[in-house]
């Protein structure tokens, strides 16, 4: 079995890494990472707008934003992929490749989830920050821009990174609409070999594990570092456990949801 696994990797490492890239579409782990980076990168600015809309006192803004978040939290990602795959060609009037449909889906879906992280980050800051900024003559938006968001976004870096890990895991759903990414590459290999499904998909699971585990460790390290840094300033949000400052579990839990 180990020899089979070795042969699968030795024969197909390029397909798993970049797909059929120079002669075909980008695939493999490169496409998976590109999908996740595009998804999170484009969703991030959108998510700040959604979070600000949700926190705004005007129902015209807060209602649609709240509705968007609840719909995305309540409907399976696969259903949203189907919607985008169906609606996007109608909107722009031509056939859409699976990759683009997947990026659009991830942007909408992740924007909703990231906006919850941003909202929790803003609400976790002491209220005095906003009051002090307003007292110094900032408008609501300018206080958000220069006082609240820079602090909130810094504290949110670990949560955003863990959302990035979730996104990597969610790109596997592209397999259902034949987006050439890592899972798709593995199923191609399986279709060629036919006799070693366990070995092929074991390799697939190991690659995902290696990528996501590394990023999770990085997230945990950043979380500890940022918590320690914040302990130097105000300790109101922090708890000291075994001499190490950590963000209160309630805060983390709220942010993680």
């Amino acid at each position: 079995m180990l020899i089979n696994i070795y042969h699968i990797i030795a024969d197909n490492w390029l397909l798993l890494l970049i797909g059929q890239f120079p002669n075909g579409p980008l695939g493999g782990i490169a496409a998976t990472l590109l999908l996740s980076i595009l998804g999170i990168g484009l969703a991030f600015p959108l998510s700040i707008l959604v979070a600000l809309a949700r926190l705004s006192p005007w129902p015209v803004l807060s209602w649609p934003a709240t509705a968007l978040v609840y719909v995305m939290r309540g409907v399976p990602l696969l259903m949203i992929i189907f919607w985008v795959y169906f609606l996007l060609p109608l909107l722009i009037g031509r056939i859409v490749p699976g990759f683009l449909a997947m990026v659009c889906t991830l942007v909408v879906y992740e924007a909703a989830f990231l906006s919850e992280i941003v909202r929790a980050g803003i609400q976790a800051l002491p209220k005095g920050q906003m009051d002090a900024a307003r007292a110094l003559g900032h408008s609501h938006l300018s206080a958000m821009r220069y006082i609240i968001l820079p602090q909130a976004l810094y504290n949110m870096i670990p949560s955003i990174l863990s959302q990035f890990v979730s996104t990597i895991k969610e790109t596997t759903l592209g397999y259902v609409i034949n987006v050439p990414e890592l899972t798709f590459a593995a199923s191609q290999i399986n279709n060629q070999l036919l006799t070693q499904p366990f070995e092929v998909f074991f390799v697939l699971a190991s690659i995902y594990f290696a990528v996501c585990w590394t990023l999770t460790q990085l997230t945990n390290w950043l979380e500890r570092r940022i918590a320690a840094k914040r302990a130097g300033r105000g300790a109101s949000e922090l708890l000291v456990v075994d001499g190490v400052a950590v963000i209160k579990p309630e805060t983390v839990q709220e942010v993680r949801q």
Binding site: G74, V75, P76, M79, T172, T183, F198, F201, L204, A205
Partner: protein, 233 residues
């Protein structure tokens, strides 16, 4: 495109039957894997509480694997990979008894058990250590203190993430379509192919998923409110 006409799907017995059967299978997969996940999650927590480093490491590895590998990949590995390693007699038995659904329940259940177990563990850790000492001082044994003092508080603390993960388990049941389970997503594709009414079919399925998820969230919020101690915030 013709105008929106939900009755073209809902009032046609063959289509509504397909969707209903699909929804029933979604519920079977979701409830079956929830039960498996919850019992396994509790078992993993109990193993972790035992004073053995090896057991602790093993459970940590189990959880790390299931949280870092995409759920869809786990399902594919079960259905295409692990099934091929089973003895032939068992393989035949499973494929006769709706093997897709069995592996979907196993895959989703084992995966979600990791999350449930972590939720319960952090719930338990947020109960003050003094509670255990006080219970023991009052004459409770370790097991009875766990049962009557620690766990009720731990479950209460763990309710919000448990509810969230229950909702995502329900949503993840749609992944079973990738290994050929005839659940709601599968029925949606069938009805869409036969009726050519994509918009209406998707809309109905989306509403079904949304209503179920919102109901779960509402029940969760009600449970949290009901179980929080009087006077506490």
């Amino acid at each position: 495109m013709s105008s929106l006409d939900l009755s073209a799907i809902l009032l046609k017995p063959e289509y509504s039957r397909m969707l209903l059967d699909g929804f029933e299978m979604t519920l079977v997969v979701a409830i079956g894997s929830w039960l498996l996940a919850m019992s396994l999650g509790i078992l993993l927590l109990v193993i972790r509480l035992a004073p053995s480093r090896i057991a602790d490491r093993a459970v940590a590895a189990y959880i790390s694997y299931h949280q870092n590998v995409p759920t869809l990949v786990q399902l594919i590995l079960w259905y295409f990979g692990i099934s091929s390693l089973l003895p032939l007699g068992l393989q035949d038995w499973i494929s006769v008894h709706n093997g897709e659904a069995i592996f979907a329940v196993i895959g989703l259940g084992l995966c979600q058990a990791a999350y449930f177990s972590e939720d319960l563990r952090s719930g338990l850790r947020s109960v003050a250590a003094g509670q255990m000492e006080a219970a023991k001082a009052l004459g409770h044994s370790y097991v009875s203190a766990m049962r009557y003092v620690m766990m009720p508080q731990a479950v209460r603390n763990a309710l919000p993430p448990l509810i969230n993960h229950t909702v995502s388990l329900f949503k993840n049941s749609s992944l079973a379509v990738a290994i050929g389970v005839t659940e709601l997503m599968h029925a949606v594709k069938e009805v869409e192919n036969q009726s050519f009414r994509t918009f209406e079919t998707y809309l109905i399925a989306t509403l079904v998923y949304l209503v179920c998820s919102l109901l779960l969230m509402a029940v969760g919020a009600w449970l949290s409110r009901r179980s929080s101690p009087v006077g506490a915030t």
